[in-house]
Symmetry: C2
Subunit: 461 residues, 2 copies
């Protein structure tokens, strides 16, 4: 029994024809949603630092598109830059059961390699499903103990990227095993940066995309990796988990489509804040509350939310504030939605800070027991006039049972582009319109037009 080998065989062998139609459509939705998140990274300081590095160290030309700058590079550097870009707005997708953000570490390397190879749209979609199915199962395999210290998107992300790129490169099952070995032994990403709101989250996704791509190319060239990188005595589980379960690596392979379980993000914050945010919004609407009516709020959460959000008590940057439960709920109390403009313009407002500091998290047995498969939101609102109001959501907005329509995905994409200035409305509409047809593309070309001077778009101020 070697579950890792079975997963590698699946990732190598997956073809477009094997994937149910509704999973293909969901993958198209996820691709458009990812593209919008990449455009949203335009002008972000950490993203600009990584794309500037890629430009300085990489070739000045190439077949792969850096979405935020419109420059071209090699697939390696385009994957690195686009993965950094698509994770910064905290609007990219998430898979609940694995607490893993697949899009940024799957589409970034897959698009870059597909552009370099001239692959078809269907080849791109199949490769991305291979990446989703792999990365999600690796995240589930690594378990909750892993997530307490490690950023699963960074760690499982190397495997997801290797699976997607390896599928595009046509690796056979044995080569894919080697690619997984190389990817797993580069697996990295620690939560420690959150404490001071440092930039590492973008580095984690950039690293995962680049390291996974490297692993797949090396395997194609005969480079070998560990045979049991997941469950061997000195493998990933031995080093980075105390509750890993190898059966999860192959759970329902080919019948259960984990890709379709992926959630879209409605709020522009850490996913751990979303269930409570939606529950609070429901209370506010049901009881016609105003922010001034609120004395304090208790959110009833799973332990993972406390682990990740607990250290963030006084966020000093926009990005850090997206990991502050208090900030997110205070924004929702004022604006019903914690989107990019709300964070950017209001996260340090006096009213937001004052309410933020009256919001606490408590571990809730029911919520914790359902997690990570279900992300239940429960809040208790104590009003200044002495009432105790309770709110609950069973599926936060964006989850498969409460998903975004194609119109909502398009609207979100237009908002993200408008916010970052990464593309004009016309460019964005045209790109999204084309992307809905990706399954019919004979070859994957650039998603956005080159700028007139062929000079790349400036980033930042």
């Amino acid at each position: 029994m070697n579950a890792g080998a079975d997963l590698a065989g699946f990732a190598a062998g997956l073809r477009f024809e094997h994937i149910p139609g509704e999973v293909v459509r969901k993958t198209e939705d996820l691709l458009v949603d990812w593209f919008a998140s990449a455009v949203a990274g335009h002008g972000s300081r950490p993203v600009t630092a990584i794309s500037s590095f890629a430009q300085a160290m990489g070739p000045q030309q190439g077949a792969a598109e850096v979405i935020t700058t419109r420059r071209r590079s090699s697939p390696y550097f385009a994957a690195m830059a686009n993965a950094a870009a698509s994770h910064v707005a905290e609007q990219d997708d998430v898979h609940n059961g694995s607490v893993f953000h697949p899009a940024t570490v799957v589409f970034s390397p897959a698009l870059a390699v597909a552009q370099a190879l001239g692959a078809s749209g269907r080849q791109l979609l199949a490769a991305c499903v291979a990446g989703y199915e792999t990365g999600i199962r690796v995240g589930e395999f690594l378990g909750r103990s892993h997530y307490k210290v490690f950023h699963t998107t960074g760690t499982a992300g190397t495997l997801a990227a290797a699976a997607a790129v390896g599928n595009l490169l046509g690796l056979d099952a044995q080569q894919m095993r080697h690619a997984f070995g190389s990817a797993g032994t580069q697996s990295a990403g620690l939560w420690e940066f959150l404490r001071t709101g440092a930039d590492s989250k973008q580095l984690h996704t950039a690293h995962a995309a680049a390291a996974g791509l490297l692993s797949a190319y090396l395997a194609k060239d005969g480079f070998t990796g560990a045979d049991r990188i997941f469950d061997g005595p000195q493998g990933m589980a031995a080093g980075m988990s105390s509750d890993a379960d190898a059966r999860k690596l192959t759970d329902g392979l080919g019948t259960r489509w984990a890709t379709a379980e992926t959630s879209f993000k409605y709020h522009a914050s850490c996913r751990h804040t979303h269930p409570a945010a939606d529950a609070l919004a429901a209370v506010m609407i049901e009881h016609a509350l105003k922010p001034a009516d609120i004395a304090r709020i208790v959110t009833h959460v799973h332990q993972g939310a406390i682990d990740v959000l607990g250290p963030v008590v006084d966020p000093v940057t926009v990005h850090q504030s997206k990991f502050s439960m208090g900030t997110v709920l205070a924004l929702v109390a004022h604006y019903r939605h914690a989107g990019l403009p709300e964070f950017e313009e209001h996260f340090r407002d006096d009213a937001i800070v004052a309410l933020r500091d009256r919001i606490e998290m408590e571990r809730d047995p029911e919520v914790d027991g359902a997690y990570p498969r279900r992300w239940i939101g429960k809040v208790t609102v104590h009003t200044v006039d002495g009432r105790t109001l309770r709110g609950r959501v069973d599926e936060p907005k964006g989850d498969p049972g409460n998903t975004l329509s194609r119109d909502e995905i398009t609207a979100k994409a237009l908002q993200l582009a408008a916010f970052s200035g990464g593309a004009t409305e016309a460019e964005m509409r045209a790109a999204v319109q084309r992307l809905w047809q990706v399954a019919h593309w004979p070859r994957v070309d650039a998603l956005l037009p080159l700028p007139p001077a062929g000079e790349g778009r400036g980033e930042g101020a």
Copy 2:
């Protein structure tokens, strides 16, 4: 108290004038020894795979030298390729106390960046000492529990590379802290590959050199990292060690020069085999034994040797055989030295395999207690005529108290180049001769001449 911040401040502030003369001379020795190991990587299959990737994904020109191909690239890819090359022959240096191979992850990125910046020889040397002092202390900090699962050269290597490159880039103390945060959160490398003799060791050093370099460049550009990447509640120790000790990060900073404690490798095998190899050689010489006289051998070792070498019972590749205690001792019994030609030509000989299978490892309390600060070698040889002979060395050849002279380092360099074909004897002699003068170089240029056609040297068959 933040030991990581103190270490970062030291690495940022270290200048040539601060370093004692004997440490400078040792660093020159280590540089020459590293260069020879990089040349020794010429033609190796996994090295060629990584350098081919670097060439495909990187620029075709640049200021940094890829030693095995004589091509030029950006510092990022030259660092990656040279780090892969200099760790494959298992002849690069090792620091006993940290069980860490500094040269490959320090000189590779530092040379590449020094060439790109036009730094002086003294700047290069100071940066490399910063890298050694940092990487060794991080290895000691991570401890023995870490080394049971993680390849410390890969994990601590990201920090060593960041320190060296950050010093060359002129990072201030705060920027170096950020560079350490970015490097530590990319820290990776699992021993699992050894079980099947896979190629990951070269990937680990390539990854560490590249990720550390990236971290330093990003910090220069304002990119931030975790403040307490070493000992924070979700930092490296929390994720990857159960016996980490933060005091070791700053142990004797500026007075104890860990660089000078580094050992050269005499045998071309895993360092864990060297004490026993030298002890066996002593027995063979003292008692004028022939291989046919030996019934069986017991080596008395530290637990770390069993952890790393234990899984290797029937090596099928030259590289894997360097992690087989039995193979190494069988070669020493036959040839007195387990060098590159002995492995390449004889590791699967019937006589070697037959003796190999009669050699066992036993944990020895004295040896284990002294480890890792001292690597004592003890063997018991049982002869076919019924004698029990014991051998012992307290400092294996290459350790500071039993070091290699400059003539021996030069001879080793010429042997490595001749073995790999990576440079002619004349080229190698000229390069080594120049390198002994590195402290007087106004700027660091290429170590080897470009080939006549400007085409790069072919690698492999």
